[in-house]
Amino acid sequence: MAKHRGRGVAAIEYPTGMNQGGDPSQAWIKVKPDGRIDVFAGTVDLGQGSKTVHTQIAADTLGVPYDTINMDVSNTDSSPLCTGTFASRGTFIGGNAVLIAAQRARKKMLEIAGEAMEVDPDDLDVEDGTVFVKGSPDKSMTVAEVAGAATWGIGDMITGSGAYLKPYESPDPDTGECDPDHDVSYAACVADIEVDDETGEVQILRLVQAYDVGRAINPTLVEGQIQGGAMMGLGLALLESSYPYYPDPENRGGEFGSYLAPALADMPEIESVIIENHSTIGPFGAKAIGEMANNAQAPAVCAAIHDAIGVWVPEQPATPERVLRALDAKKDGTDAPRRDGKRVIYDEAISVSTHAHASSKLRKIIHA
C-alpha cells in the first residue's frame, strides 16, 4: 500500500454570453425627487451577486454613491426583459444594459442640472453624488438638488433606459463559421493530488487557479465564483454522478447521503489569481467568470492522477473503483494504447469501435 502524489495542469477558455447571441437584456433607471436612484433590470440573482455588480456599475456610471441605489429585479411588471441568468451573461450583457441606461440617465441629469445652473451640460460632470462644473468644483449641485429641480422646478423626470443585444447569428451548416460570442475568458488550474493505490481513493490537496476575467467589478465576488466553481469542479472530477453506473439508469442517489455533492471535509487548499485583461466592450472591461469556474479542475485532476500513478481515467468522475480498475489494467498490461502505424489509440474498451454495431456510421468518424 502506498500513497502517490501527482500534479496536473489544465488550461481552458470560455465564451461570454449566449452562444450565437440573440439574447437581449434591458434596464431602466429613474431618479426619485430626493436624488435616490431606482434601477430596474431583469437579471435574476442566483447568489453570484448580480444585484451587487449591477449596482456598482450603475453607481460609477451615474456618479452617485453605491448605497443611494435601489436595485430591483423583483418582478416582470417593473423589470424590463432579461433573457436570463445563464450562459455567463449577467455581468456582461445585463451589466452593459445597466451601463447604457445609466449613461442615458446621467446625460439627462446633466441636462437638467445645466438648465438649473444655467451652464452648458457638456461642461458638467458628476461624482459621488455631486454635479459640478468641470474645472470649478465650487459651482455644484447635489444629485438630490438636481432631482428636486427636475421634479418641482422644471417639471421633468430623470430617467434612462438601455438595452444590450448581439443579434442572433446562424452558423454555416457545413463549416460552423460565425461570430458566436462577445468575448472570451481564460483560466489555468494546477491540481496537486494524492492517490491511495490500494483503495483507489483520490484526495485533492491543492488547487491553484488563474483566471482572466477582464475586469473584476467586485473582486471578492469574483473570488467567490472561483472558489465555488473549484468545489463544483472537484465534484465533477471525483465525486458526482447522476448515474453512477451510466448508461445504466439504476442506483441513482436520491439524497445528499448518497449523491456525493462536495462538503466542507472535501475542501482542498484553494488559491486564486485574478488577471485583469480588459475586454474592449464589456462593462468597465469585464468579461465572464461564472460558468467557466468549474471547467478546469476535472482535467487537471485527471492529469495529476496520471502523473501520480501512470493511469488514465477518461470516464468521469474518477471514482475509487475506476482508479483501481485502471491500476489493475496497468498491472495486467492491458492499459497500453494500441499502436497502428503512426496511430496511438487509447480507450478502445469504451469507444464506439467496441460498443456500436458494425454497421454504425459512428465507427468511421475519427477512425477513418
Binding site: 456598482q56 429585479v73 448508461p247
Partner: protein, 459 residues
C-alpha cells in the same frame, strides 16, 4: 470613491445574514393555498394505455386533478423561437420516455393529501425496452425514441458540423496520431433551494407567479404559451433564487401550479422534494467524446477530428444549443488550423438534460485537456511546454474562424505556474500572446483561413 473594482458588501448580504431574504417558499402562505404534487412515471419507457383519476379526485381535501387534456397548450419548445421543433409534452399523454416523467398533477389542502391522491390515480402502461447507450444510436436493433429515430436533426445534417482547413491532409502529414475517448458525467445542479413555484389568482384576474426561475421573461413566455394568456395577464415575482447552476431554466413547476390555479381559483404551490430534484429534474448531460489529433514530432497540433455524442435524455430542451456551443470550443485554448468536428444530439430514456454551469463547454474542456495531456506524453514532451507552444495568440482563429483579439491562454498558464511553484523554462516564461512570427509561426499556421467580414486580424 469608485464602486467598480471595490470590495463593496453584497447588496443582499444583510438580508441573507438576518434571515430576511424571501425565497419562493418563504412568501407568507396566502389564504386557501393548495399544495401540488405530480404523478410520475415509474418506467423508463412505456406506452400509456389509460389514466383514471376519478378516485383521486374524490379524495376529501383534493381540489383538482389535471392531466395533459387540461393543459391549454401541452407542448412548448424551449427553443421554438430558434426553429428547434417542440417535442416535450408538459404532462405525458400517450407515452412516457423517462422514469419520473410527470403524468398528472393534484392540488390538495396539504402535501400529505396530495401524495395520497397520487396513489389513487390508476395508469395502465405497456412497458417498452429503454434506449440507454448513446454509442448505439445508429444501431439497427436498438429501441427508437421517436418515429424519426434517436438523433436530433440539424438541418441539413444529423449533427453539428465544424470544419476548418484540410483535416485529411493534416492527418496524412502527421508524425503521430493520438486518439482517445472521454466520458463526462451527468450531474445534478443540486442548488440548496429545490425548484418551487406559487401561483396566486389576483382579484383583477391576473396571475401572480412566485418563481425561482433563472430567467423570468423566458419562463413568462413559456407560461403564457402553455396557458394561452397574454403576457400582461401574468406577473412573475422572483429574481432572488437559492442557487441555480442552470437547473432552473426549464419552467418545471410554474405551468402545473398555474393550471391548477385556473381550475380551482385558489393559490397553488409546488415545491420539489430533494428526491424529485435528484432523480427526476433535469441534469447536466452525459457526453461521449472521441478525439484524434494529428501531431508533429516537435509538438505542433496540425489537425483534430472529433466525434461527440450528447445524451440529451428523453427530450431536446436546450440540447441542440449545448452541442453547438460544445462544437465551437473543441480546440480549447489552443490553435488548431485543421479541424473537423461532428456533434450528435442523441435522445435516450434518461431524464431530459438541461443547462448547467459551463453548458457544452465543460465537457469539451475535459475531453480536450485530457487529450492534450496524452498527446504531450505520447510525444515525450513536457505538458506545460506543449500547451504553451500551441496556445492561442492574437489573430489566431477559433473553430468558428472568429479571430481572437487578445487571448490569455499564455498569461493564465504562466500565472498558475508561478502561483503553484512550477518552474517554467526562461523561454516559456517569456512567451507572450503577440501575433505569430518567427518560431511561433510554423508553416501550418501561415495561412489560417480568415473570413472577409471580420477582416485580417493581424493587420
Amino acid at each position: 470613491m469608485k464602486a467598480v473594482g471595490a470590495r463593496l458588501p453584497r447588496y443582499d448580504g444583510l438580508a441573507h445574514i438576518t434571515g430576511r431574504t424571501t425565497f419562493v417558499d418563504d412568501w407568507p402562505t396566502p389564504p386557501g393555498m393548495l399544495w401540488a404534487k405530480a404523478l410520475r412515471s415509474p418506467h423508463h419507457s412505456a406506452l400509456i394505455k389509460s389514466i383514471d383519476t376519478s378516485a383521486a379526485a374524490k379524495l376529501p381535501g383534493v381540489h383538482a386533478v389535471v392531466t395533459a387534456a387540461d393543459m391549454p397548450v401541452n407542448m412548448v419548445g424551449h427553443l421554438e423561437a430558434l426553429g428547434v421543433p417542440k417535442d416535450e409534452p408538459y404532462l405525458a399523454e400517450h407515452e412516457v420516455r423517462y422514469k419520473g416523467q410527470p403524468i398528472a398533477g393534484v392540488a390538495a389542502d396539504s402535501e400529505q393529501i396530495a401524495l395520497e391522491a397520487l396513489e389513487l390515480i390508476k395508469v395502465v402502461y405497456e412497458v417498452r425496452q429503454p434506449f440507454l447507450d448513446i454509442r448505439k444510436a445508429f444501431d439497427p436493433d436498438e429501441p427508437q425514441i421517436t418515429p424519426d429515430g434517436n438523433v436530433f436533426f440539424y438541418d441539413p445534417h444529423d449533427h453539428r458540423k465544424v470544419t476548418k482547413g484540410d483535416v485529411d491532409a493534416a492527418f496524412e502529414k502527421a508524425d503521430v496520431i493520438v486518439q482517445g475517448a472521454y466520458r463526462p458525467a451527468a450531474i445534478e445542479q443540486a442548488p440548496t433551494e429545490t425548484q418551487a413555484a406559487l401561483v396566486v389568482p389576483e382579484p383583477d384576474g391576473r396571475l401572480t407567479v412566485y418563481t425561482c426561475t433563472q430567467a423570468m421573461y423566458f419562463t413568462m413566455g413559456v407560461l403564457s404559451t402553455h396557458l394561452q394568456l397574454a403576457q400582461n395577464r401574468i406577473k412573475l415575482v422572483g429574481g432572488t433564487v437559492g442557487g441555480g447552476f442552470g437547473g432552473k431554466v426549464d419552467s418545471a413547476t410554474e405551468p402545473l401550479c398555474a393550471v391548477l390555479t385556473l381550475k380551482t381559483n385558489r393559490p397553488v404551490k409546488w415545491r420539489f422534494t430533494r428526491e424529485e430534484e435528484f432523480l427526476y429534474a433535469s441534469v447536466r448531460a452525459s457526453w461521449h467524446v472521441e478525439i484524434a489529433d494529428a501531431l508533429t514530432s516537435d509538438g505542433w497540433i496540425l489537425g483534430r477530428k472529433v466525434m461527440t455524442l450528447h445524451d440529451a435524455g428523453a427530450y431536446t430542451r436546450f440540447s441542440s444549443y449545448g452541442a453547438t456551443k460544445h462544437s465551437f470550443h473543441l480546440s480549447g485554448a489552443y490553435t488548431i488550423p485543421n479541424l473537423r468536428t461532428q456533434a450528435y444530439v442523441i435522445w435516450s430514456n434518461h431524464v431530459p438534460t438541461t443547462a448547467m454551469r459551463g453548458f457544452g463547454v465543460t465537457s469539451a474542456s475535459f475531453a480536450t485537456e485530457l487529450q492534450m495531456e496524452r498527446s504531450a506524453k505520447a510525444l515525450g514532451m513536457d505538458p506545460w511546454e506543449f500547451r504553451l507552444k500551441n496556445a492561442n495568440r492574437k489573430g489566431d482563429l477559433m473553430p468558428t474562424r472568429k479571430p481572437l483579439e487578445d487571448p490569455s491562454t499564455i498569461v493564465t498558464i504562466q500565472a498558475a505556474a508561478q502561483a503553484a511553484g512550477v518552474e517554467l523554462s526562461a523561454g516559456l516564461r517569456e512567451l507572450t500572446n503577440a501575433p505569430r512570427s518567427g518560431d511561433s509561426l510554423p508553416e501550418h499556421l501561415r495561412d489560417q483561413p480568415t473570413i472577409a467580414k471580420l477582416g485580417d486580424p493581424t493587420s
